[in-house]
Symmetry: C2
Subunit: 317 residues, 2 copies
């Protein structure tokens, strides 16, 4: 078993690659823009990145993480909404092209596994990990192993319905958690506040050039960090929804630790603090049971590729 | 390892005991009323029941299932709302009294484990099991093992909040799932329909002698089974809530099978059919992923003691 493995993180805008050692350290990095949705183009880019990592990665197994559902064997991309892929035999094709073993993982599973092995969740065998960005991705570690469920699709926390009949979600349903506690939720509420000409939205209106479409989750959060009262309100509201959903996850899974990563998770201490407060005041049975700790992720944007590499090393190495 | 184990199911009104073989068959049975909340009295009754099971059970390990939270080691009743126990060292006390090994389990965990080992979930390694009665208990089998979480409290499905600000729950929170999809939900809605003098409630009013307090979940369900239109509506409504919650559990856990047991689960095929329909029309990502099957439990009221016995045999035998 080689101490090195290669991790690939296929995102909607970029593909990141890294040569990762057995301690989760990224030794060499590579990065390319995602070449559209065509599987053959993505495959070619991944192959280039693997070669680019140099002789240290020669023969190392390759773990690929991407948004979407992988089958439980890590062979097929069953469905990837962002890449518009369906039943794509990416593992077989990559193994042929690279001449070595490959494993596919869901990107949130990979990130959560990385935090468990090398990051914020080291030493805690029952962990819920959230990737908080435009939506909410998730992963589950119970009794020291990643739990993917029967079909490889566990951890879709963002799509638990928390408000029946509520806001429409990109998944087609209504009232999904990620419509209330994510970057998209901040953006929608910010735009909505501009649209009603809310007087409190003065700062947001100026920052957005009076253009509602310029209001993003990042903008709302950065204004909140800078002290804008209206944006602070929006972040606190999203944090309360986040905490309520954490309480639901704790009722179901009873983790010892909940890790919150992702772009928004990393950028907003206020969101995390509010979420933890709400979680602690919402957990069913509080006062009669211990609380899970709520912490920020430690590995940042590298988590996906580190976890994909480690999962591949463990399964194939 | 003895082929026999003893299972004890401590309920609010009765304590059931059984000598259980390695195939989950109950060979000898015993039963007593629950002697109130006093731990010493409950312990004495359990000891009597164990002796009553006769020489076949001599020396057999004892598994005890009860409503409430057990620590992960199966040693202490951390909290049992129905028995008013807190931090009760029941295992130690029973081991001293009985002179043999004892393991404590949550009753819903025990029932779910029994369905996995010997009942409706045989052969499926990723299972969610619901005990649907006055409330909703639950258990999780992932990758072939019961998952209890960090503190032994996983599977509290009934207390996921599905309607923020909704009906008050016995747990103190608002909007818990079990306030919408359980025997208590049927009772509350039935009483509410009587209270507003709903003309459709004629059958229920007669059956309850015009006394709202006589409206129970069992009554509403039995009237529905008998064809009462208003009660059918109430059961269908509860079934829709049940299905919505199943979709949430599937989003989080991705089981291959969901088993619905408990008194109400066994008594209402309409509730289960409605729940499955709603689950299938609510699952996030439907059309792009397989559905978990939704089935009724097979072991009936014996599930708790069979599972408690088997868990004890596996851990101690």
């Amino acid at each position: 078993m080689s101490a090195y493995a290669i991790g690939i993180d296929i995102g909607g805008t970029k593909i990141a690659a890294g040569l990762v050692d057995g301690n989760g350290t990224v030794l060499v990095r590579g990065r390319r823009p995602t070449p559209g949705f065509d599987p053959a183009a993505v495959l070619a880019t991944v192959c280039e990145l693997v070669r680019e990592l140099g002789p240290g990665g020669a023969g190392a197994v390759v773990g690929v993480g991407a948004a979407g559902w992988m089958d439980p064997e890590g062979s097929t991309v069953v469905f990837s909404p962002h890449l518009s892929w369906r039943d794509e035999p990416l593992r077989r094709d990559l193994e042929r092209a690279l001449g070595r073993d490959v494993l596919l993982s869901n990107d949130a599973d990979a990130a959560g596994w990385a935090e468990y092995r090398f990051g914020a969740a080291r030493g805690e065998d029952n962990v819920v990990c959230l990737t908080l960005g435009t939506g909410i991705g998730g992963s589950i570690v119970l009794d020291g192993e990643l739990r993917r469920g029967r079909f490889g699709m566990a951890g879709e926390f963002g799509h638990q319905v928390m408000v029946p009949g509520g806001h429409r979600c990109a998944c087609g349903n209504r009232g999904c958690w990620e419509q209330y506690a994510s970057g998209n939720a901040l953006a929608r509420e910010g735009r909505s506040l501009l649209a009603v000409h809310g007087p409190v939205a003065k700062g947001m209106r100026e920052a957005a050039g009076n253009n509602p479409h310029a209001v993003t989750g990042e903008l709302v959060n950065s204004l909140a960090v800078a002290g804008d009262e209206a944006c602070i309100e929006l972040v606190v509201e999203a944090g309360q929804w986040l905490g309520l959903g954490l309480a639901n996850l704790a009722a179901v899974l009873d983790p010892g630790l909940m890790v919150i990563g992702g772009g928004l998770g990393a950028a907003s201490p206020l969101l995390l603090e509010t979420a933890e407060q709400t979680y602690r005041s919402s957990l069913s049975g509080r006062g009669y049971r211990p609380f899970a700790r709520v912490v920020g992720a430690e590995l940042g944007p590298d988590a996906g590729l580190i976890g994909a590499a480690d999962l591949a090393r463990n399964a194939l190495g």
